[in-house]
């Protein structure tokens, strides 16, 4: 797959976790691979982002602080199911990233 020149610092990373580490309140001993997007997006910034940066800096936007380019998932991983300690199944959707981009 071709790597985009812009936003190349924004990458998909993964970490092996217990489902309980997610902090969603489930009681189970099952595990998962959590994938997330991380990295700088400076090289993908547009005039829009530069303007926002300048306006925020010069206090022209009152108290607004609009978000600039972020390294975010543009596609999510498949759903994840697990059985909890009370023998009930749960399915998590859109819980883990599959593809990242500066957006």
């Amino acid at each position: 797959e071709r790597v985009k020149v812009q936003g190349r610092g924004c990458l998909l990373k993964e970490i092996h976790l217990n489902v309980t580490d997610l902090g969603l309140g489930y009681r189970t001993k099952e595990e998962l691979i959590f994938r997330y997007c991380s990295g700088p997006c400076h090289d993908a910034e547009t005039n829009y982002d530069k303007i926002l940066n300048n306006l925020t800096h010069n206090k022209k936007l009152d108290k607004d602080t609009p978000s600039r380019t972020c390294c975010r998932p543009i596609a999510f991983d498949d759903d994840l199911s697990f059985l909890d300690d009370n023998l009930e199944y749960h399915t998590l959707k859109k819980h883990s990233a599959r593809k990242c981009a500066c957006v």
């Binding site: 001993k29 994840l80 059985l83 199944y89």
Partner: protein, 219 residues
């Protein structure tokens, strides 16, 4: 050399969710098998069965059998065997409002070509033979386990019974069999008390059937 407190069924679930293919097809059946569709129905059984068949079709046996045939120390009271019973989401795929007679269920199965051929395979490949060391007529545990798992997702979907030793059965019994009581009992015993099938399940669970599979890697 697993520790005494090791839960093999939990380990299989962990291994599944760390594998992209197994994780995908596991949640692809758990979703329809646990989604209520109306006040009357706990799930769409047809969709649940279809997704279960797909799970056993697409996921390599190392993972799918790992979940289905995991070995548990004590037959009943352990978290392990309850987890094993839950593998197929029995509340949707197995249990029904009424328990049919097994011979009636067999007739229903025979009217469906997938079920008919899979049941025939199961009877052929898990045929017990007391004089053989394996306990099977065809000395091939892999074929027996494949035919057994092939029944999952048909009207003959079997599951583990809450029994101290390994015993499985489709959701049916032999009450109101009339003159066919004996025939019905023979049918159910092929599931509940089949040394060939039981040995095949044990052999997979213990990782002793090394001739057939690449054994589960030690955890």
């Amino acid at each position: 050399p697993a520790l005494a407190r090791e839960n093999n069924c939990l380990n299989a679930a962990k291994a599944c969710n760390l594998n992209d293919t197994c994780k995908k097809y596991r949640s692809a059946y758990i979703s329809p098998c646990t989604s209520r569709v109306s006040t009357a129905e706990v799930c769409n059984k047809r969709k649940c069965h279809k997704a279960l068949r797909q799970f056993f079709d697409k996921v390599p046996p190392k993972h799918s059998y790992g979940l289905l045939f995991c070995s548990c120390p004590l037959g009943d009271q352990s978290a392990c065997s309850e987890r094993r019973r839950q593998t197929i989401v029995p509340a949707c795929s197995y249990e029904d409002k009424e328990k049919p007679n097994c011979l009636e269920l067999q007739d229903t199965c025979r009217s469906n070509y997938i079920c008919r051929s899979r049941l025939a395979d199961f009877f052929a490949n898990c045929q017990p033979e007391p004089r053989s060391i394996s306990g099977c007529m065809k000395e091939n545990y892999a074929d027996c386990l494949l035919s057994y798992s092939g029944l999952i997702g048909t009207v003959m979907t079997p599951n583990y019974l809450r029994s101290p030793k390994i015993s499985v059965s489709p959701f049916c019994d032999c009450s109101s069999s009339g003159n066919n009581k004996e025939e019905c009992d023979t049918f159910t015993q092929f599931f509940t008390d089949n040394a060939c099938l039981r040995n095949a399940i044990h052999a997979f669970g213990n990782g002793t059937d090394r001739s057939v599979w690449q054994p589960l890697s030690p955890v």
